[in-house]
Amino acid sequence: MISSKPAHLQGVYDVVVAGGGPAGLGAALAAREAGAERVLVVDREKEAGGILLQCIHAGFGLHHFKEELTGPEYAGRVLREALEHGVDVLSDAYALDVLPDKRIKLMSAEHGVTLIEARAAVLSMGARERTRAAIRIPGARPAGVLTAGFAQRLVNLQGCLPGRRVAILGSGDIGLIMARRLTLEGVEVVGVFELMPYANGLNRNIVQCLRDFDIPLHLSTTVVQVHGRERVEKVTVAPVDDHLKPVLSKAWDVPCDTLLVSIGLIPENELSRQMNLRLDPVTNGPVVNSAMETSRDGVFACGNVVHIHDLVDFVSAEAGLAGRWAGLAAQGRRPPEDNVRLSAGENVGYCVPHSLSTEREHTVYLRVRKPMEQSVIRLSSSDGRFTVDKKVRYVFPAEMINLKVGPRMLQNFHGDALRIDVLPR
């Protein structure tokens, strides 16, 4: 993998980007294209590229690069593009803090602890996985209960296996990908157990990772107990009723030595919290305006650190926006003010950005709370005088919805707040 090491970190950077995944690298490139002179990306891993580096399967880039790439190939491309456009990329470097004057406090293997001056900053620290603690499975606490992403790291980066007989709790995409990966490695995957009545991952992953390998998917089922003293020996699973409460009388034991937990991602927001940014309690990421600017002037954010994307292509699109505005902000050009607040209504978990302008074209990203067939996405003002509907055939929590919103659609709207509902037709 290519890399570039800035020999010195002196002087003022126009834009410093915290996190060198596809979001950070894409933002850095866009900042350069918008005219920023000195742009630095820092990443805490040995190589920049983000979580994609451990996703060695194909299926990335169909939208953004119009061809199918593996994770490392996608990461390699965005890294190369950034370097070719004169972005400095410093890996093995941890962004510890962004001070109120936008100086970035950095811990670098090469440079030690330093403070770097910056005119604008982009946060793109990605996401982390939810852990077993988030769902409180009773029982013992042996070795062998781990997140799917950690297992992915063990297999793809460390060259070893998490166990011989694996049960998977949760049908998130990483768990599905790992079901296939482990099967190919000769590991027995005994089943995927999902609490909800529908799968949490993309449909293509259900087909290609489970069905094609005859791995059973148990919907409306959860793990109610972990057994084993030193290492997992088995798990007890049970179906759940309509209130998601386990029906213990129907429980059964599944012998296994490993339980992978794949119950979703959550933005890596240690830094955002430390900076006291306004956070959205649903996404757990910072609140952003339509220029992807956070509650602190000159600090932008994009990618999984804002909200969880299932496809990296949309991360790249969002990064382009954040990077462009960061680059312009560094040159003294503030993004135009938004004039409409946007909020999530019925069957909408969240929407990003949290505000927009009636003057410009936007892509609004949203997720529904529950699946629905034959529905409409409704944009409406609080007084009910303005509504526009967009028909959609099928909505699904695992698939992010992109909604184009622009001046034409809003020509009859005169208020300052809009909400989005997803309703049955």
Binding site: R44, D92, Y94, L96, K105, M107, S108, A109, E110, H111, G112, V113, T114, L115, R128, E129, T131, R132, A133, R136, P138, G139, A140, R141, P142, A143, G144, L146, T147, G149, F150, R153, L154, L157, Q158, G159, C160, L161, P162, G163, R164, E185, G186, V187, V224, Q225, H227, R229, E230, R231, E268, E270
Partner: protein, 506 residues
């Protein structure tokens, strides 16, 4: 285990006592490296003695001593007529000096035992007079208003409370590590992952058969916690029945830090101290423990029933606490002897001394137990010549994130180990992980309980692979030999197909 001892010695951390070769005959063998065994070991290294501590787990403190409430009890809870009642208050007063010497965290945050009804008041009065009779200082009855002002998040139904300023909190595992490390620096021969399998007495000398060979000693101290009954049987001492009593504990999200600032006890019933709210030393709130007898001394499972019991009782007086905030849960087993008191003393088998039945408040009492055992050994004929080179202190570990930015810059400049962040939740640097390994951590849990790496919100998702790489490198073992906490607690295995093995052994 050998690896680790070698590496400790090569770092100069194991200060051997005067004799260069290992003498044949030891003075004292301590079985069990819980807080009791460790406290005794450290007291004994003040004297010119050859002492060996045997622990079956991979680390000291990995029995009951790391799975408890971490409270240094105020001194007034246990009956003064019992052995534990006396040692509770004595032990309480020894913790300031220990913490000052060894540098582990200890804070006297105080305690409230609350009354929710008129019927509770005489119980509190009784606790107060009992405590005063023992000499417990500072006990005071608080009015409802006083309680409300001090702890506004407790229930408005509280009508009075007994305040004990003497109550404190520690990280119990940290106390064990520090006691053991100090003892090792003063000459203790510490052998972890060494199980005692047999004991025999011939000509006044005990042969101690272990999984790592046989040792000979004049005295054997049985501090084996839940297994002290088995050890007594091996020694041919009178039968000692130990009944495990489980306690489940639930740690709550950092969000609730400061919600309650003192240890809160409900009004005790004749059988139990009840379910408590515990602001741990790190500031995280914890609720528990339950108290239920179990058969299996290895049963550390938590249960939905336990969680229900804990939250429903706590919510009666702390309504802001709910199960949604749980971030971690664990269970510990109290080693209760018949009669529910500590069993401390010599037995009919000469040289074999029990320190058993050390249930709650065993953590509190441990330093006092250690002094009592030293006295017992003297009474039993062990000569105690003080060493003039006993070093009571320990070098203070670096806490990188609590340094000023200037100090961080300076340290990272000087020492490249402080240029890499290993834990993203608790912000622990590679230097701190390496320090923990140097001080005896051999497993992921060993690192976790020494540094907090892996205890935060991501529960090791980020740091585990890094810690495994560092352990493999420092202990010179393959990556796949690194365990969670020794024994069969493996984390990863080599690839079945045999490809890419190099990557894991670099």
């Amino acid at each position: 285990m050998l690896c680790a001892r070698r590496s400790l010695r090569s770092r100069g951390l194991v200060a051997r006592p005067a004799p260069v070769t290992m003498p044949e005959l030891l003075d004292v063998v301590i079985i069990g490296g819980g807080v009791v065994g460790c406290a005794i070991a450290r007291e004994l290294t003040r004297y010119r003695l050859r002492v060996c501590l045997l622990e079956k787990e991979c680390d000291v403190g990995f029995g009951t001593s790391k799975a408890n409430s971490g409270i240094i009890h105020g001194g007034h809870h246990s009956d003064p007529r019992s052995v534990k009642g006396g040692l509770e208050w004595e032990g309480n007063q020894l913790w300031d000096a220990l913490a000052a010497d060894l540098g582990f965290g200890f804070k006297r945050i105080g305690e409230l035992t609350i009354a929710l009804s008129e019927a509770d008041l005489p119980v509190l009065e009784n606790l107060l007079s009992r405590g005063r009779a023992k000499g417990v200082t500072g006990l005071e009855m608080w009015t409802a208003e006083h309680v409300r002002a001090a702890e506004p998040n407790l229930s408005q139904d509280i009508i009075a409370a007994l305040h004990a300023p003497t109550t404190g909190v520690v990280n119990p595992y940290e106390a064990c590590f520090c006691l053991a490390e100090s003892a090792v620096r003063n000459g203790l021969d510490l052998r972890t992952e060494t199980t005692v399998l047999g004991l025999s007495l011939a000509d006044g000398i005990w042969a101690v058969d272990t999984s790592g060979g046989t040792l000979h000693t004049r005295f054997v101290l049985n501090a084996a916690g839940l297994f002290s009954g088995d050890i007594a049987a091996l020694a041919g001492a009178p039968a000692l029945a130990i009944h495990p009593r489980k306690g489940e504990e639930y740690l709550l999200d950092k969000r609730l830090q400061g919600h309650i600032t003192r240890v809160i006890f409900p009004c005790p019933s004749p059988v139990s101290k009840g379910i408590l709210v515990i602001p741990t030393y790190d500031g995280t709130l914890m609720v528990g423990p339950t108290a239920h007898s179990v058969e299996d001394p290895l049963d550390l499972t938590t249960s939905a029933a336990g969680s229900d019991e804990v939250f429903s009782s706590v919510q009666r007086f702390a309504p802001g606490i709910c199960p949604r905030d749980v971030i971690a849960q664990f269970a510990g087993l109290r080693a209760a002897a018949d009669g529910d008191d500590f069993v401390i003393g010599p037995t009919s088998q000469k040289g074999f001394i029990n320190i058993a039945g050390i249930q709650s408040p065993g953590l509190t009492a441990a330093p006092a137990i250690a002094l009592r055992v030293v006295g017992l050994l003297r009474d039993e004929g062990l000569g105690l010549a003080p060493r003039d080179d006993f070093a009571p202190g320990l070098p203070a570990p670096v806490h990188f994130m609590s340094l000023s930015t200037e100090a961080q810059i300076e340290l990272a400049e000087r020492d490249p180990r402080y240029r890499r962040m290993s834990c993203r939740c608790e912000f622990i640097t590679e230097g701190e992980i390496l320090d923990a390994i140097g001080r005896g951590a051999k497993t992921l849990d060993g690192i976790k309980f020494r540094t907090r790496a892996g205890m935060g919100r991501c529960q090791g998702g980020f740091c585990a692979a890094r810690c495994m790489e560092l352990l493999a490198r420092e202990l010179d073992i393959p990556f796949t030999d690194v365990t969670k906490r020794g024994g069969g607690s493996w984390v990863a295995i080599p690839r079945l197909t045999g490809v890419a093995q190099e990557a894991s052994h670099d």
